[in-house]
């Protein structure tokens, strides 16, 4: 399943690039539009990078199950007896093509925002642990709206509020690396705890939601 979704992503690589470019454009536009001095940028960076990551993750969520629903393969997945594994694989593939590339370029974005050393690695770590949570929670929203006509806009309404805790702790980790480096580990561990809970439970909720949506 993971192999299939990654193969699909490679064949339809445009979809992958759009998410990444969206992220880059958003984080690049904000300093330009604010026209602020470089002193204020490090203070803006944690929140802005995390908001851009969240939006870029949601951008691609609508396609997570929609195509499988439209071409009928969702039926076959649901009756396969390995729905949990399939959902987990699809979420993993979603993260590998959206969250991971964004995490990998985040140190460059950090440099552009005048972050240094420890702060850059914290930004990287927080996104590395946090973006999979965004994919897990997002999958629930995508599953609930699969088959609805205005699904993609409803996903944002469902998923954005649910992702607030991830964003708060993710941004807090980066902010504390600037102000009080001792607390960084606390936030990162909290994010890791969220990740573990999300990986275990979100696919169950997603599979249940898919069964309802695929009526």
């Amino acid at each position: 399943m993971l192999k299939r979704d990654l193969l699909l992503a490679v064949r339809n690589y445009n979809d992958v690039l759009i998410g990444l470019f969206f992220f880059i454009v958003v984080v690049a536009l904000i300093p330009i539009s604010l026209n602020e001095s470089t002193q204020i940028l490090p203070r803006l960076a944690p929140g802005l990078v995390w908001i851009a990551a969240l939006l870029s993750s949601i951008l691609s969520l609508a396609r997570l199950f929609e195509e499988d629903h439209a071409d009928g393969s969702l039926d076959l997945i649901l009756s396969s007896g390995s729905v949990y594994q399939c959902v987990l694989a699809k979420v993993a593939a979603h993260w590998l093509v959206t969250g991971l590339p964004l995490t990998l370029i985040s140190p460059l974005i950090g440099l552009a925002y005048n972050l240094h050393g420890e702060q850059l690695s914290t930004l990287f770590m927080s996104l590395l642990v946090g973006t999979p949570v965004l994919s897990c929670i997002g999958a629930i929203g995508a599953a609930l709206t699969t088959g609805l006509r205005s699904g993609s806009s409803i996903i944002a309404l469902i998923v954005l509020p649910l992702n607030i805790p991830v964003m708060v702790y993710g941004a807090a980790a980066v902010r504390s690396s600037i102000n009080s480096p001792d607390n960084v580990m606390t936030y990162l561990l909290l994010l890791t705890a969220m990740l573990i809970i999300a990986v275990v439970f979100a696919p169950i909720a997603t599979a249940a939601a898919l069964k309802i949506s695929n009526d």
Binding site: R4, R11, D71, D75, S79, G81
Partner: protein
């Protein structure tokens, strides 16, 4: 244990409309159940209800006297469903699609059984082309090749002959005939006459009774 599909007092709705109610019948091993009815009489809904995708408003579907739902894995492993949509990924080729279904059905990945399924349907020479580049009929045949992966007891087919030419229709009918011989059962909808299957093993259900 008899591999029997039992439908009891089934009522299905679409929107607010009752499609059929108090529908009861059984499908025995070796039997082909042909659902007959006009467009919109609920044939597809009935097939999706039997496969467990849609929940009935009232009544039960059971397999070996156990509820036939998606959570009953001995049931979901026993049937193969080919619906209106082919369930194929357009940017993958036939082989990649079928290998994925092998995993989905819990079978060992074996390119030999994919090859033999494709050869049986006389489409193996197209196995490296992406689905997008195949005709509707060829796509349909690849979807139907799923029936030949591993073994199954019940085939649930929604208009299997759509877009197929006469030769392919006969081919599929022969495969159905073989499946019935091996004590398999089939439930299908079709507007094409079934010419090669002995009428003794066909059981017709009329859906528009009103």
């Amino acid at each position: 244990m008899s591999k029997q599909l039992t439908i009891q007092g089934l009522q299905c709705e679409r929107g607010e409309r009752v499609l059929f109610s108090d529908l009861s019948f059984t499908v025995e091993p070796g039997q082909l159940c042909h659902l007959n009815g006009a467009n919109g009489s609920g044939k597809t809904t009935l097939l999706r209800t039997i496969a467990g995708y849609t929940l009935p408003y009232a009544g039960t579907v059971s397999w070996n006297e156990k509820p036939a739902t998606l959570s009953n894995s001995s049931y979901t492993q026993a049937y193969r469903y080919v619906g209106h949509q082919n369930g194929l990924k357009k940017s993958l080729n036939a082989r990649e699609n079928l290998e994925f279904f092998q995993q989905l059905y819990g079978l060992n990945a074996s390119s030999d059984s994919v090859t033999s399924a494709l050869e049986t349907l006389k489409i193996n020479d197209k196995s490296q082309l992406s689905i997008r580049d195949l005709s509707q009929g060829q796509q349909r045949k690849i979807a139907l090749a799923r029936l030949l992966l591993g073994s199954s007891d019940l085939w649930i087919l929604d208009e299997p002959f759509t877009s197929l030419d006469l030769a392919s229709r006969n081919l599929i009918e022969n495969l159905m005939q073989q499946h019935l011989h091996q004590e398999g059962s089939i439930i299908l909808t079709t507007h094409h006459p079934l010419v090669n299957i002995p009428s003794g093993s066909i059981h017709v259900i009329e859906l528009d009774r009103e």
